[in-house]
Every structure is written in structure tokens, then in C-alpha cells.
Symmetry: C2
Subunit: 305 residues, 2 copies
């Protein structure tokens, strides 16, 4: 009978029903799911970055910390965290990401904005090219990037993937990055935030894109050097940007992205963890921990994700 501490109070109302249901489905109906506990008794910690729990030292018995978010950059550097840490890879989150990426790729590909906002009532029947003529590059070919690549390829977009580590079918390394950027009519950034990926899209890298390329960032705000992007939009080097994530969220009201005519701000909605599907992932990892099987989505501390 494992004791499971739900240490993300702000999310309890979302998870209080789905979690017991998922635990029961996983054959763990005898688990003790609590929102407060004596640290010495806790077997699993369900966690979110904003959690008040910051000192993991007293949780000496805990077999794993199970994050409710895909991003772990706000917890992986915590020196008191010695327990195994698992990221959330939620099928609902992946689906939502694919929908956002495919939707905004098609929006820019089809040039929808000039029809959505058309005060002059201009009828210009020039057809856009076909998707097979519009190369898309995805930086980051993990679970989310790969799912987006598959969905875009099914619509005939020629997709180039780039990944920080060598992966079959993807480019990698600095040379690979140069190639990947140089062919991107539309660039999608889906890398995790690590010291190596911070400001990955700086002025030099933006200059490698074909002139007028479109940038979609549903990954992490820090991947982009904001000053460099604004300058590239100003010069026409980057044609448009649709950004879902920012260094500070909500995006401050006076941030230049808000009123820039070539920037669309979406309010961190590309990938939301969905409680019903995420609860099943948590329950499966607890089942694995109890059965002595390896955890899913274990974070590699060396790489930081």
C-alpha cells in the first residue's frame, strides 16, 4: 500500500477525481493518495514546478518524484533532489501540441491572416504553393517533435528534424543545425530548455534562415534571443513569428511582441497537460515502481531533461 503525496496543491482540484480512477485502473486501488504526509512515510511524490515542496531531503523513502509537466528545468537543478525524477509525457499533451503546430503551420502556409483581416475586401485568387513545396524544420525531435514531424509529413510537408543528440532520420550537431536552418521556410522550435539551448536562435542562427522564414515557438521562451528576433523581423529576414512561450509569463503588457504586426502571441496553450491522460501516466509509473520495473520518462540529470 504505497503512500502517494500529491505535492502540487494548485492542481489538486483538477486531479482529485482522475488520479484515484487511474490508480484503480492500474490495480492500485489500495494506494494512499494524500495531500499532506509525514515525509518519512512517502513512497511517491507527484510534483509541479510551482509546488511549495522545495526540500526533498526528508523524503528518504520516496522511490520517485513524478512531474506533472513535460518541462523539468525548474526542478532538475534542485540539489536536495536525489530521488529518480520522471517527466510527464502525456498523450493528451502531445495531441494538443501536434494540433497547435500543424494548425499554425497551415495558417502560415495558406496565408490565412490576409483573409481573416481583410479590411480592403481584396479578392486575390493567387493560390499558395502545395505543402510539398514548403519545407518545415523542427528543432528538437523528442516525443513532441517526432509526433509533429509525422503529422506534417502526412500532409506532404517536407520535414527536416534536428536533434541535439544523434537520432536516426534527424540532423544533429552544429553543421546539421546550419543545414536544418538554411532550408526552413517554416521553423518549429521544440527543444527543452537547457544551458546549451538558451538563446539557440540568436542573430547568427536567424541569419541562416531563408529570407522571410516563419518561426513557430511552442517550446520554451528562452530558446530565442528576443532582441535578435525583433531585429530580424524588422529587417525582413524573419517574415512572421507565432510564439506560445516566453521568458516571463503572462507576457508583460508592454512587451514589444504584443503590438508587433508580424508577431502572434498565443498564451502558452500549445501543450497543456490533460488531467485524465496525465493521471494514467502517473499511475503507470507507480505500478512500475511497485513491481520493480523501470520507470517511464526518467530524467537524465546529466543532460538536464
Amino acid at each position: 500500500m504505497p503512500t502517494i503525496l500529491f505535492a502540487a496543491p494548485a492542481l489538486w482540484s483538477e486531479y482529485r477525481d482522475p488520479l484515484p480512477a487511474a490508480l484503480a485502473e492500474a490495480g492500485l486501488s489500495d494506494a494512499r493518495l494524500v495531500t499532506e504526509a509525514d515525509p518519512a512515510e512517502v513512497d511517491y511524490i507527484i510534483y509541479a514546478p510551482a509546488s511549495p515542496l522545495q526540500d526533498f531531503t526528508p523524503y528518504s523513502r520516496a522511490k520517485a518524484v513524478l512531474n506533472l509537466w513535460a518541462g523539468v528545468e525548474r526542478i532538475v537543478g534542485n540539489p536536495t533532489l536525489t530521488q529518480p525524477l520522471c517527466r510527464m509525457v502525456d498523450p493528451g499533451l502531445t495531441e494538443g501540441m501536434v494540433e497547435w503546430v500543424v494548425g499554425h503551420t497551415l495558417r502560415h502556409h495558406l496565408g490565412m491572416d490576409r483573409h481573416i483581416v481583410n479590411p480592403g475586401h481584396v479578392w486575390d485568387p493567387t493560390c499558395p504553393p502545395l505543402a510539398r513545396e514548403r519545407p518545415v524544420t523542427i528543432l528538437g525531435m523528442g516525443a513532441l517533435g517526432s509526433a509533429c514531424a509525422a503529422a506534417l509529413r502526412a500532409l506532404n510537408f517536407p520535414v527536416t528534424g534536428w536533434s541535439r543528440t544523434a537520432k536516426p532520420g534527424s540532423l544533429h550537431g552544429e553543421d546539421g543545425l546550419r543545414q536544418a536552418l538554411s532550408r526552413a521556410a517554416i521553423l518549429v522550435t521544440l527543444l527543452p530548455k537547457t544551458p546549451e539551448t538558451e538563446n539557440l536562435l540568436n542573430a547568427d542562427r536567424l541569419a541562416l534562415l531563408p529570407r522571410g522564414a516563419v518561426i513557430l515557438n511552442p517550446g520554451r521562451g528562452a530558446l530565442i534571443d528576443d532582441e535578435a528576433l525583433l531585429a530580424a523581423l524588422e529587417s525582413g529576414q524573419v517574415g512572421q513569428a507565432t510564439l506560445d512561450v516566453f521568458r516571463v509569463e503572462p507576457l508583460p503588457p508592454d512587451h514589444p511582441y504584443w503590438s508587433h504586426p508580424k508577431v502572434t502571441v498565443t498564451p502558452h496553450i500549445a501543450a497543456d497537460t490533460r488531467a485524465v491522460t496525465a493521471a494514467r501516466v502517473i499511475a503507470e509509473n507507480i505500478r512500475r515502481g511497485e513491481a520493480g520495473e523501470p520507470f517511464l520518462h526518467l530524467v537524465d540529470r546529466g543532460r538536464g531533461y
Copy 2:
């Protein structure tokens, strides 16, 4: 050595290179492709609705009239046309249609418009539901409708198809239409224009939709009773409409659709025939005619398409 009359002068500049290439590919490099000919010598007529050729009587030797457009409503009723008539089913046209339909479905599904036009800089991180929770209905399950259904299903949208004739996996008949409309969060109209489909979406049928449903019409303008749609938008019964085709094109500058806040006009770009791929379809049909094989995409005069 068949004589092929290209009877769509406005399109000659687009087809003058792709057609000979496609004929050569099909083993017909000896064919005589001309833009003017003695009618008695013509074996095949390549045609577009706006063609000056309107009297087919003198073309007594012609084995087929090969239309460059998918729609044949402006030619099928021509009483002088006794030759077999073939529609265009262009893979490039199908791809373009799938891109438009999937793109605008995702646009409405994700609620993009409120991010593209957001003068108040509102940051509202409410996530849209997943595609699996957003039912789409497609009226018309021919080559285009089926391709759109497959692409939307690949993105997890639950798709209901309705077809005027019984087809496996689709609803049909008046009862089927009622069912199909009643479950459509997003409705896509892809029927051909025939006397039976004109004003198919009238006030009674629009009333069957769930309140606030979105309509996408990349099919034919006449499928929709415009007055009824405007009234349904006014009452909130229909939430938004994105229309690519109209009874009169270009859409007249004073048409209420232009300035209606719930209507997006796209300028008949959802499906454009692409010369390179369409030329291959024409060449294949001429090859078939010469080899005595049945033509592809032969129009059924009784049904009108």
C-alpha cells in the same frame, strides 16, 4: 496520331509546357496538340467552362471532352455535348483542398482568430479541447471529401461523412443528413452543384446544427442559402463561417459577407488545378482512349457530375 484541341485559351500559357511533357510520358509523343483545328479532325477536346467553344456539334469525331476543372455544372447541361465528358480529378487539387480544409478546421478548433487579432493584449491561457472532442461532419464523400476525412481523422477529429448516394462508412439520405448535421461542431460542405444540392443548407437544415457550429464551404457557393446563413449567424445558431466559393465571383464589393464579423472570405483558392499534375491526368485519359480502355472520371449525365 490523335489530334488534341486545347480549347481553353486562357489556360494555354499554363499548360503549353506541362501537356507535351505529360503526353510524352504517357507514350503519346506523336500526338498533335493544337489550339485551333478543323472540328472534323479533332480526336480529343481539352476544355474549361469559360471556353469560347460552346457548340460541340461539329466535333463528330471527338472521342472525349476532357475538362480541366473538377466542376462540370457549366458544361454538363450543354445540349450539343454528346461526346463522353470527363471531370478533372487532379492529385494537386486534392492536396490543396485537404490543406485548406484541415487548416481552417484547426484554425476554428484552436480559436486562432482571437490570437491573430488581439488589440487588448488579452492573455487567456484557457486551452481548447482536443481534436478528439470536436466532431466534424463532411457533406460529400467523393474524392475530395474522402481525402479530407482521412486527413482530419489522422489528427483525431471524429469525422462523420454524408453522401447523396449510399457509400460504405458514410451516412446518406434525408435521415442521415439530419444525423450528420446534428453532430457537427464543424461542418464542411464538399458536394457538387446539382439541382438537388442547390440551397441544401437552408434555414431548416442550419437549425439542425448544434448551436454555434462553424461552417466551412470550399465546395460550391450555391450549396448555401446565403440569406439563411446570414440570419443564422445573426442569431448565433451558426458561430462562424469561412467561405471560399460564392454564387458570383469575385464576391461583389457590397456583399454582406465581406464585412460580417463572423464570416471569413477566401478567394476561391481551396482547390486550384495544378497544371503539372492535371496534365498527367489528361494524358492518361488520352492514352486510355487510344488503347480502347475506359476513361477515368467519366461524368454520369443522369446525376450531373
